[in-house]
Subunit: 168 residues, 2 copies
């Protein structure tokens, strides 16, 4: 989508901020912008690896989540909470996964409001293959040094807890 720029656009933005008298927030601005851009790069890599499997990242995340549930099934609201996305996003993903024969919707045995999402055999197999691909092609070659990975986990974990993601 583009060739390398001659200079880091985020570092330029940080300088702009400083020159405009916002030096006190220039660094956090740069860090946040860098997070946004890094997410974009990583998402593109992930989607690229998943495409041959007919999966998007959103659908993969749901499949992976289900594959780690003992029973291979979860209520939709649980999935929404664990994936930390809006319930309508789960509805959307389940619709498409169901069309692809990878999951099935079934009624909750005791709560008529709740719908269970259940992995099919096909879904479980595909989740395994896709995970193997992601592990070798993305996570195994993330481009982050081991120490940096630890720093990221620590810093972002602290941030997410402060943001109210989890109590722990």
């Amino acid at each position: 989508m583009g060739n390398p720029l001659p200079r880091d656009p985020i570092a330029d933005a940080q300088r702009n901020w400083e020159q405009h008298g916002w030096g006190d927030v220039a660094a956090p601005m740069a860090a946040i912008t860098a997070i946004m851009r890094t997410q974009q790069i990583l998402l593109a890599r992930i989607e690229g690896v998943l495409k041959p499997f007919g999966l998007t990242f959103a659908r993969y995340e749901l499949l992976a989540l289900l594959s780690f549930a003992r029973s291979g099934a979860l209520p939709m609201n649980k999935a929404s909470a664990l994936l930390q996305v809006h319930p309508t996003s789960v509805t959307n993903a389940v619709d498409r996964l169901q069309d692809a024969g990878l999951v099935v919707r079934s009624p909750h045995p005791t709560d008529g409001r709740t719908t269970l999402i259940e992995l099919t055999a096909e879904g479980r197999t595909l989740a395994k293959s896709a995970t193997a691909a992601l592990n070798s092609e993305v996570f195994g070659q993330s481009g982050f040094a081991n120490q940096d990975v630890d720093q990221l986990i620590r810093i972002l974990g602290k941030f997410r807890r402060n943001a109210g993601d989890f109590a722990d």
Copy 2:
């Protein structure tokens, strides 16, 4: 969109990865997942601050970029390159900003293929106000410690360079 979970879902995922024999990539997986989630949180905060201005983050970024250009104008392809998004995304943003009277499209003086995007007076004023709001309500209260901000800038800067974002 949800209450705090009892436990960190990403730490759980990391444990799952380790238990399935993928210990060698569990940490990068967790770091990458944390980046995705952090981006989601930050984007929501930013959008919340911009909403009263009638702006989204995508539109704000374009306005801010223009406001830093000496002439207040940029070719669309330059904006696409600097913002590191697809040209069609810029077309989309410009359409809406133009409808809102914040920018104007004008022909390039020497290259008939190129369209210049130009800030209107209104656009420049709104960019200033929106930037002030973001500085005080998001960047000024990022929730990252100063040292962590430096770490993020360093780690993600290295990553982005490796990913081919810029030569520097």
